[in-house]
Amino acid sequence: MARMSMIEALRSAMDEKLSDDASVLVFGEDVGFFGGVFRCTAGLQEKFGEERVFDTPINESAIVGLAVGMAAQGMRPCVEVQFADYVYPAYDQITQEAARLRHRSNEQFTCPIVVRMPTGGGIFGGQTHSQSPEALFTHVAGLKVVIPSTPYDAKGLLIASIEDPDPVIFLEPKRIYNGPFYGDHSGKSVPWSQHESSEVPEGHYTVPLGKAVVRQPGNDITILAYGTMVYVAEAAAKQAGVDAEIIDLRTLLPLDLETIRHSVEKTGRCVVVHEATRTSGFGAELIAEVQEACFWHLKAPIRRVAGWDAPYPHAQEWDYFPGPERIAAALKLAMEE
């Protein structure tokens, strides 16, 4: 089996779908000739031609609008928004057109599009290249929201997303494009090639949407995480010395509440972590669901560790980022209560 970075795995997924389905098109800013600012589409235009893989002007709204029109005609566009921070102009097209076309047309037209976007911080991107806007999309009925944390999942989830009959927001945690990140920003980063989850099969396979996975089994406390935070949580659990069960949600909408419930009923304690700002973040939804489903099993209040309610900083990125120390402190608190 080949070892791939998350970037290579994503490229492999698009390569696979471009090969087996003529209705799949890949486009976005710098996506064609240049191969994508993060290189996710490198070589695809050369292989599949300018008709299938192409550059667009810098117009997020019309990029997604174009995709909606194509999809209504039965095509399967997979578009890239260069950074999740650039998606706001397209928010109208995503929420009011893509997400609702099936319902309001009484299923005469559907919108099987994928909107890929690098999300999250950790690369000194400052306010406009670091945000985690997942909660803006989990709030919208009609969308699916996916975020992988390993190269294997990235490929399998992206293939499943392109094949999905509904619009999928595909968030790519850019801090772990090239290797897992355990929250130690001063240390040397480890490339994916040295990590077992970078073993990615050639060819077609899918990882089903709507299914979480237990990344690390444990008995004392459940940590709910996704994207980069799966690794940061792993480091935090080690640091706190707790036997934590780490669940990688993988799909935020629809949420795999069964896997979560099963774990929290066992451990009786739960900490939720995410990079996005705390107030009205996806953690709020997770906590509400967990307490409704598992209230009588809980031994302590559910804690959340998130980005502060401040604009994403530049110089103080690592004070903002919910690193292992903050998560470890929350784990200890939850264990003591």
Binding site: E51, A71, E97, Q108
Partner: protein, 331 residues
């Protein structure tokens, strides 16, 4: 209004002219009936009537062929009737009933027909414009020779995504006709209050998209301009802009106090430029039809519209379970 004069001796068959009359009258009577049902409380919320603008869609539909696509804004009832959608289904959607095109899930602004290649009915000003380009992109990709009529108003012509789309459509030579239905009022704001330059057909010049202004109260002028635009697109020359000068007699929606224009202005337009009256006169003067023929058409249209209102009243309300259907594909 500054617009092209129709030719003195129109190049049109009796059959076609009669059909245009019939199609425009259907829209007019349908919309009048919708206004009545609204007044009776049978239609709720928003309802944007097309009265006065009938020649625009009827003229352009006369230039369309089977398989061509159309997408428009929220003032969409006329477009649906003109492309052959069933008046019963449209009216029942207005009343939010099960027999409506979207089973009551869409309402006045959000209706669709796969069969007639009608891609909606969009409630957000200008949002349908990039979607129209996407429809055209798919047709170009499939090399099927189809064109897409992407309708929007003079108000939407100031939306940013329109220009994003112009650029893309020109860049990729998409077979899309941008139809700017200039009824001179962006909701309640006169064009001169909202728009720096009055001519909208030149707005594609910066992108290399040809455009022309058309008298939207003259169905034959619209049809001829449509044929020219369609040929341009089918010949692979890329997008085309038609600015069609028209006028809506009624308010923007139903609760419009109409303080932004005078009663006299509306009255003058109705009396001097009414598109349906214009065709009626042509029918009679050209001896294409007799008074009796026209009366028969009027009667027939009245029956169709009354039947649609009956259908829309009698069709049951959607089951509560419909709230949860068609949000995602069935697993």
């Amino acid at each position: 209004m500054a617009a092209r004069k129709a030719t003195k001796k129109p190049n049109v068959s009796s059959e076609d002219l009669t059909q245009y009359y019939r199609d425009m009258l259907l829209i007019r009577r349908f919309e009048e009936k919708a206004g009545q049902l609204y007044g009776m409380g049978l239609i709720g919320g928003f309802c944007h009537l097309y009265i006065g603008q009938e020649a625009v869609v009827v003229g352009l539909e006369a230039a369309a062929e089977e398989g061509d696509k159309r997408v428009t804004s929220y003032r969409d009832h006329g477009h649906m009737l003109a492309c052959g959608m069933d008046p019963n289904g449209v009216m029942a959607e207005l009343t939010g009933r099960e027999g409506g095109y979207s089973k009551g899930k869409g309402g006045s602004m959000h209706m669709f027909s796969k069969e007639k290649h009608f891609y909606g009915g969009h409630g957000i000003v200008g949002a349908q414009v990039p979607i129209g380009a996407g429809l055209a992109f798919a047709d170009k990709y499939r090399e099927n020779g189809r064109v897409t009529f992407t309708y929007f108003g003079d108000g939407a012509a100031n939306q940013g995504q329109v220009y994003e789309t112009f650029n893309m459509a020109a860049l990729w030579s998409l077979p899309v006709i941008f139809v700017i239905e200039n009824n001179q009022y962006a909701m309640g704001t006169a064009q001169k209050r909202s728009t720096s330059t009055p001519d909208l057909y030149i707005r594609g010049e910066a992108f290399g998209i040809p455009g022309e202004v058309v008298d939207g109260m003259d169905v034959l002028a619209v049809r001829d301009a449509g044929l020219k635009a369609v040929k341009h697109c089918r010949d692979g020359k890329g997008p085309y802009i038609l600015e069609i000068k028209t006028y809506r007699y009624r308010g923007h929606s139903m609760s419009d106090p109409a303080k932004y224009r005078t009663r006299e202005e509306v009255q003058k337009m109705r009396e001097e430029r009414d598109p349906i009256e214009h065709v009626r006169e042509m029918l009679l003067q050209g001896k294409h039809a007799s008074e009796e023929d026209i009366k028969a058409i009027d009667k027939e249209i009245k029956q169709v519209v009354n039947a649609s209102a009956d259908f829309a009243r009698e069709s049951p309300e959607p089951d509560l379970s419909e709230l949860w259907t068609d949000i995602y594909a069935e697993a």
